[in-house]
């Protein structure tokens, strides 16, 4: 029989061995995210998963990575308090923060004041990186780990050209977006690129994120008879999707619909999302890089659901920060910034590199061929099917019964 004494001795030995293995100070990464929001709830678990994988392989130069999580309840004020606490009390070396642009914009000056590297896994406003261009020395600690709104608009236009304009000869579009920080540059991007691909913008509807009844909006859009609705929605999602279906609005929804990226959206909308297109950086079953599917599998095994888009980026962010610390030879913030600027890393969403100091959007992700191209997925029979770009497509476009389209060749 094992005696209590031997258990105690064994426990002490285990503690000694494990502490010897992590003799050096741990690297602490703060994660400030919104635990209750579908998009935000993947951020901390994905970061945790990356840290565990890195630690299992010996950490960064013998240093263990520790993730310290703060729930910000989607509030900018709570995020600022969390950031201050993370730096001054919990002594974090870097912060991964939020998918909400308003939150990241509130934290950006604090990253500068407290000289702490910060990367956002999901906010999209171009203003985040435009601010860095205006005041580089002060704000260089912020990195944009997700696509800017302008880049997103460009990718949506690229996909619309291949999926709508060429096969169906579509000619007109209405932009429908929510009134938020991230959609101002998005809409400007749409206004510019849609006419370039041959889609005339017949109207531009910006609605409050508090909108609950979309009936008047859809009726107005329908009266304009556009070929397609180009969306920019993230805070809203379920209601416009459900009402689009229940009212049987005969116009396709195509563009950005952040909530639709999540695998639970089918259930949230009782299947009303059938036929909706959405832009994303990754998706179920899409092997964007050799790292994508193993990550999704590991995430699902550990947490029982699929990561949101901010989960993929958050996972990559931990690896990039670890890599930057390794190359910087430690956690000196200025050296970490220099190392991050030199990032060339293949993550789950593609090849990641940041735009240089000289760019109007410094520290934004490089996009386009060779870097991140994005995907266009469509909900089909309860599944998210990638339909663009061709080389990564798992299926072709399909339309709900209330949308009648004729292919140009017919």
């Amino acid at each position: 029989m094992i005696s209590l004494k031997s258990i105690l001795l064994a426990s002490c030995a285990a503690v000694l061995v494990s502490s010897a293995a992590w003799a050096a100070d741990p690297i602490r990464i703060g994660v400030i995210a919104e635990a209750q929001a579908v998009a935000g709830s993947s951020i901390a678990p994905a970061a945790q998963l990356a840290a565990e994988e890195i630690n299992a392989k010996g950490g960064v130069d013998g240093r263990k990575i520790e993730i310290v999580v703060y729930d910000n309840h989607s509030s900018s004020a709570e995020s600022v308090r969390a950031f201050q606490r993370a730096v001054s009390e919990d002594k974090v070396n870097a912060v991964i923060a939020s998918y909400i642009s308003e939150v990241v914009l509130a934290l950006e000056p604090w990253a500068g004041r407290l000289k702490t590297l910060m990367i956002t896994p999901g906010a999209a406003s171009d203003v985040i990186t435009q601010n860095i261009a205006k005041n580089y020395d002060q704000l260089k600690y912020t990195f944009h780990g997700y696509l800017t709104s302008t880049s997103l608009a460009g990718l949506v236009c690229d996909a619309a050209k291949d999926l709508l304009v060429e096969p169906y000869k579509m000619k007109t579009a209405v932009i429908m977006s929510e009134d938020a920080a991230w959609t101002t540059p998005l809409d400007a991007g749409y206004e510019k690129c849609l006419p370039e691909i041959g889609l005339k913008v017949v109207d531009h509807i910006r609605m409050s994120p508090d909108t609950t009844d979309f009936t008047p909006i859809f009726n107005k859009i329908e009266a304009l008879k556009p070929d397609v609705m180009i969306t920019g929605i993230s805070h809203v999602g379920t209601q416009p999707t459900v009402q689009w279906k229940s009212q049987q609005v005969p116009i396709p929804m195509f563009g950005i619909s952040s909530q639709a990226t999540n695998s639970t959206f089918w259930k949230d909308t009782n299947g009303a999302v059938e036929g909706v297109f959405y832009n994303a950086v990754s998706g179920p079953g899409v092997a964007v890089t050799p790292k994508t599917l193993p990550f999704v599998e590991a995430y699902q095994k550990k947490f029982g659901n699929f990561p949101s888009y901010a989960g993929y980026t958050s996972y990559d962010d931990v690896y990039m920060i670890a890599d930057a610390i390794h190359r910087a030879g430690g956690t000196d913030p200025d050296k970490m910034v220099d190392a991050m600027e030199a990032t060339d890393y293949v993550g789950t969403i593609g090849r990641i590199a940041f735009k240089p100091k000289s760019d109007p959007n410094p520290h934004a992700l490089r996009t386009g061929k060779g870097y991140i191209t994005g995907l266009m997925l469509q909900w089909q029979s309860g599944k998210q099917v990638n339909v663009w770009p061709k080389e990564l497509a798992a299926g072709t476009t399909s339309w709900p019964s209330f949308i009648k389209l004729k292919a140009a060749s017919n």
Binding site: T211, Q247, T264, T269, N270
Partner: protein, 291 residues
Amino acid sequence: MLFWQILIDGFAISALYALGATGFTLIFGVSGVLNLSHGAIMVGAAVAAWAAASELGVGPYTGALIGILAGFILAFATYFIAVRPIQRSKVIAESEKEIFILTATLLWGIIIQEAIAYLFTNNAKTVLPIVEGVTTVFGVRTPKNEYFTAAICWVAIGLLWFLVNRTRRGKAVMAASMNPRGVTLLGIELSSIYLTVWAIYGLLAGVAGILLGMFLGVSSYSVGPLTASAFSIVVLGGLGSVSGSLIAAYVVGYLETGTAYLISPAYRTIPALLLLVVVMYLRPQGLFGRR
């Protein structure tokens, strides 16, 4: 065409508002309780109906019944956890009880809201519609479920009217709202009247919650706006006046729908709020207030 659109959409949304506000005003009229957890109870009922149908696959009818049951349970929980202990407290002065109940129901509502957000995330959920498809009336294509929603709201309000005006128990409730002391002198237990009212309230809030979930969808974020909307309607109609609330619901519903169609959906709620401010100035007791 636009006229019919406003008329039909406005009618459906106003019926929903009316049903949502009726329970709220009934509770205030009878027991003087301003229940600030009202929105949370409606959202709780809708989310329960959604979860039952989506997670357990029980179908729209059973899902709706489970939602109504959840509204019922939440209403009773509100009464027994947040209201009754304060009403019966010997420590809290009578004059302060109203503000204590106000605070308690507000906090209880926040607890329900947070619990919903943690258990089901704050993404909006939609309740499986009982009637599918669309129909065209006067050239306006409308989901059949919108007509169904309006019909159920009026059936529920009609039943409430019948209960209050034609049944013995209902008459006792009515009497208690006018003179609580008089009712006790007749030998009727006031606490049993309160239980009846909270039961009716639970059913009304449950039905309103699931219809709202079918029509517009709800999330934990809807809790505050729903309570505020019910509050504005009953203040506009006159606190405690059920018929006042019904009329106010239609005034607000049509004002909002008209604004959304004729001006912009972005300004939808503003004219109704301005009207509320004007009424508060000119007629603080509301349009049909009793005091």
